[in-house]
Structure formats: structure tokens, C-alpha cells
Symmetry: C2
Subunit: 341 residues, 2 copies
């Protein structure tokens, strides 16, 4: 037997930025799968900005993690034993089993990962939730047309990098926003975006405007805050704004009034803007289309991705705190266990 | 010959509420139609909230009326003489010839009114721009489903009354908002809305909430201001907000931050709201569907309408100032000339 299972639970609801003490490490006894259940060993844990929302109470699209509950998260796992007719020992499966080394999960909540599509880690990355968020939000809500300008922030990240590359596949101009020169260079030179602006630049708003001489037709919103303030005046008539995330605001404890607030409805009217919030599960029916297109694009090299890996379950809290500050460079993953034991 | 032609021009750009001195009456010489043009005598002038926008400079979906320019507006007219092969003396036509008794207009800008569809005044009312605004905004953006709750303000007015009645035809619950007991009684008892709340009631927000026990699925936005503030917290997940007008804010001279501002993007995200601005001409391709459906509904008595008529072109400025304050009760029209001379 290996070392005893470990998990990370929510110790306290953060006020503002999460701190290490908001998390607690626990050992627990190896669980046994019941009827229809499967015992999993976690290989990869995905860390994603939405998890900040689960740490707080208050209205959201999902219930919060309870105090002392295991932190939520998507995972790539090996099946250690199975009481489900659909899974066998050794299968590699996608689960939502959270921040822990082992878990018992109902077989109905699992999906087999097709290793032919790409490295198994991509099942929680470019071929998983972040990739499908980019795909559905951009194509189903943003609906970019050839020649239009698409802007996305966190452009070196899991969702933003896919948004810009899909936009270019559709013939649009892609302008990224990212934090720091290294990320901007990567977005321009490796991913091939038409431009990328550093949001830490003191002239950020002016540079964004210069990078979008024909205005902005689609703004894929995943950060909010000061970036939205700079984008809002540049939106063209009939612009579409899929609202996918607001990472810059997740740690806010007050509802400050942003500079565009008083003009918000007026601009929606006079520019005939569409703002629409979504989460990826609203587009579950598009999963087949997404997997077909995205796996092809990845294979063709038309969509590139970058992973940012920290080692060991213990690294998850610091990695997550860093993710909220943009310290990651690419899709944030935690290597919880080896591919094979 | 009758009295000389008269027109009303924009004398000054209003600061806040328009005043009578912002308008100027002028006599002018009877114009002569050139090649392809038609001389019109105005019968009905439509007064609509959007005209407030045309009086101001600043970004909007249409250019402002220039100082000393004739105030814009939709009209029902008789053709006095025609140099267009498409129109003959005596034809009744829809034009956008503005606040004047006579006008010369390019025949290409005119549309014949089919008197078989209803009284000719309805061509600028329930069978015209206001009716089509309600029809397209509600059906194409709002997309109400049976059993859902649709809320609309200015519910006794030209657009709002049609919105609620179409919602009910589609099986939705219609809750109106109007100013004063008489209008609310009319909306409930004559138009058959499920409920109507007086926005002047000191308990307006609480009463609106009580009238929408299952929340709000579609809010047809035509007023903004305090009504939106009360509606916003009641919006359900996946609610749709066609943004058609903001009459309560048109006279605002500053961009005050409304109470929902800080929460706006967060609620769009977590509730997956759709907010979309539109003007009726964005849906020009739906004109045939609209006329077919709406003329049928009016004939069947499923859509009722009410007209609020002031007499003579001279009455237009005061009537328009009153419209912005909700002093009208039904579609605001100015009787500029008799049906037949």
C-alpha cells in the first residue's frame, strides 16, 4: 500500500484574497467503492479561477464548498477498482473529484479519456472544460466574423489562449491582453495573436485602443475590473460580450461602482450591444462538436497550449493563490500522482 | 390654398428636460416636388421617446437633429402631388417627414398604408414602429416561453402595452409597470395583464417582487432608472433583457452610478443573463411577419391599443414634453390635419 490518502478541505471562507490558512490538509482512510462506484487515484488536478467562487457563500451558479468540505476540482484519474460495469481497473477517467489523492465516485459521474486525442492532462485543459469554455463562449455567443476584432484577456491562460486562436481560425483579428512582457511575447510570437497588450503598462488603455484601430467586435470577458473599463468604450455597434469570468473581481469584498456604470445601459442601447453570461455546462450539447474540432486543431498545430505544472497535492493552495494573481503561465495543473504506479 | 405650411424646428439643445423654448415654429413656402419626389400633407404625427435622443449631441444610433433643423418623426400623410411613378395624388403614405404640415420626400422613402389593416393612425402605432419594436424585441430577443414571467414598464404606452399582450399570446405571465392607478387599472382590466404595479407607489419594489413570485424571465427595458433598479435583483437565471429604451434617463445630464452597478457583470455571469440593445430597424427583415401577426391579433381583439391625441401641430412641443413625463395615456399622436380636405 502507498501512503495514506490525503485531501485538502476548506478551513475558512476567505475575506478577499485566499490565504494558506483557509485550506487544511487531512489524511483519511482509503475509501471502498459501493455498488456502481469506482475507486480513483488522482493523476492530475486542474486549478481554475471559478474555484474562488466556490469558496464564498452568496448567490452563484453552484453551491459553495461547505466548511470542512473537500475543495472542488476537475481531475484526471486512474481507476484502482470498480464496481461499475462501465469501468475497469486501469482505465483513465475524467472526474470532478476535487483536491484529493483518492476518491470514490459514482460511475455515472465519470467519463473515459481517449488517450488518442492527446496527452491525458489535456482532458482538463485544451480538450476539457477550459477549451470548451473558449469554444462555446466564442462561437455560440461571440460569433466572430472574418475581419472582425476579438479581444481576450488572460491571453496566455487556458481559456484566453484558446479564444484567440479559435478567433484567428475563423478569420478574425485576435488581440490579447496579458500580464508582463514574457506572456505578451508568447501570445504574439508562439500563439500568433495579431497583438498583445500588457495590462500592467501605465498606458494600457491607450495601447489597447491603438491595437484595435477598428474597435472591438467581440470581447470575451474573463477578467472584469480595469480591463473591462478600458474595453468598454472601444466596443463597436453590435459588439458581443460573452461573460465567462471575472477573475480580477473575485477577491473584491465590496461592490465598487466602475467608471462605465452610469453609461452601461445607455451604451447597451445605443450600440446595440449583447452582453451574455454563460458557463460551459450551459452548452453541454456542443461537446461532440467541440471535441471533434478542437482535437483536430490541436493535432494540426492550429491551436497550441501551454501547461504550468506544480508538483504534489501539497502545492495546490499556493498554486491556486498564485493563479488568482496571474502567477501561472499557461494552464495551471497540479501533478498529484504519476501516470502509472 | 390653405394656410401656409408650418414646421417646428429645434431651436436649442435641451439641458435636462426639454422646454418649450427649445422648439421654434416657422412658416415656410409650399415646396415643390422634384424628379421622383412627392408632396405630402401631414395627417398624423407620431411622438415617441426616441426623439429626446435626437435633440442631443453625443454618440447614439442616429445623427442628432441639427439646430434649426425640422424635428424628426414618423408621419401618416396624404399625397398632394407626385413625381414618383409609385405614388398618386390621394394615396395615404407612411413617411418620416417630421414635425411639419407639409413636406417633399423622395418616393423611395415612402410606404403605402393599407387601410384594410386598420385605421391609418395605426401605421405609426400598433401596426407601425412601436408595435414592431414590441414584437421584435420581445420575440427575437426576449423569447418568452409559456409559463415564464415577462415584465414591461410604460405598460399602458404604445410599446409596453403591445409587449405584455404578445407575451400573453405566447403563454407567458405579463406584469406591467405604469404611473398611477388609472393606467394600472387599464393595463389589468382592459389589456388583461396578470398584474400591474404603480411605480410611484412608495412600496414599488416590494410590490413588484410580490407580483413576480417566480422571478422575472424577460424584462423588456424601455425606461431604465429606478424601475431597472427594482427589476435587476428579481431576474432569474437565463433571463433576457431586450434594451429598447431608457426614457427615465433621457433627461439625465450626469452619469450617476446606479445601485446595481458594482454587481452588474457579476450578476450577468452568475445568472447567465442576456442584455441586448436593439432598435427596430435592426429587425427590418421581420416586417412581413410582424404585419401578418399583429394585424391578425388586432382584428381578433387579442391585442388592444389606445391612442392619446392632441390637436394641431402647435400642440406637439407640449405633448412631447408631457410624453417624457408619462402624461400621455396610450400612444401619443398629434392630429396635424384632417383625414381628407
Amino acid at each position: 500500500m502507498t501512503a495514506s490518502p490525503k485531501r485538502i478541505v476548506l478551513a475558512a471562507r476567505p475575506h478577499g484574497e485566499p490565504k494558506p490558512s483557509d485550506f487544511r490538509f487531512e489524511d483519511f482512510a482509503m475509501p471502498s467503492p459501493g455498488e456502481g462506484e469506482v475507486l480513483l487515484r488522482t493523476i492530475w488536478l486542474s486549478l481554475d479561477p471559478y474555484m474562488r467562487g466556490r469558496m464564498s457563500e452568496g448567490p452563484s451558479y453552484s453551491a459553495p464548498v461547505p466548511i470542512d468540505g473537500v475543495m472542488e476540482g476537475g481531475t484526471v484519474n486512474e481507476v484502482l477498482s470498480s464496481n461499475s460495469p462501465d469501468f475497469a481497473k486501469g482505465d483513465i477517467v475524467l472526474a470532478h473529484s476535487g483536491w484529493q489523492s483518492h476518491a470514490v465516485v459514482d460511475g455515472k459521474m465519470l467519463r473515459k479519456i481517449d488517450a488518442a486525442l492527446g496527452p491525458i492532462s489535456t482532458a482538463v485543459g485544451i480538450l476539457g472544460m477550459p477549451g470548451m469554455t473558449a469554444y462555446t463562449g466564442l462561437l455560440d455567443i461571440g460569433q466572430p466574423k472574418a475581419g472582425e476584432t476579438v479581444v481576450v484577456a488572460a491571453a496566455s491562460g487556458a481559456v484566453g489562449s484558446a479564444v484567440g486562436q479559435i478567433a484567428m481560425i475563423k478569420g478574425a483579428r485576435a488581440v490579447g491582453i496579458a500580464g508582463g512582457k514574457d506572456k505578451c511575447d508568447y501570445v504574439k510570437n508562439e500563439l500568433g495573436f495579431d497583438d498583445c497588450i500588457d495590462h500592467r503598462d501605465p498606458d494600457f488603455a491607450a495601447k489597447l485602443k491603438a491595437a484595435c484601430p477598428n474597435g472591438i467586435d467581440v470581447y470575451f470577458e474573463n477578467v472584469g475590473g480595469a480591463v473591462f473599463d478600458a474595453v468598454f468604450p472601444l466596443l463597436n455597434d453590435f459588439a458581443r460580450v460573452p461573460v465567462c469570468g471575472l477573475i480580477a473581481q473575485y477577491n473584491d469584498t465590496a461592490d465598487a461602482s466602475p467608471p462605465w456604470a452610469g453609461k452601461m445601459l445607455r451604451n447597451i442601447l445605443t450600440k446595440r450591444l449583447t452582453l451574455r453570461g454563460f458557463i460551459v455546462r450551459d452548452f453541454a450539447s456542443r461537446r461532440g462538436d467541440f471535441l471533434r474540432d478542437m482535437s483536430l486543431w490541436v493535432r494540426d498545430g492550429r491551436v497550441k497550449y501551454r501547461e504550468f505544472v506544480t508538483e504534489g497535492l501539497d502545492s495546490a493552495p499556493e498554486a491556486f493563490i498564485g493563479l488568482l494573481k496571474g502567477k501561472n503561465f499557461g494552464k495551471q495543473l497540479v501533478r498529484v500522482g504519476p501516470d502509472k504506479v
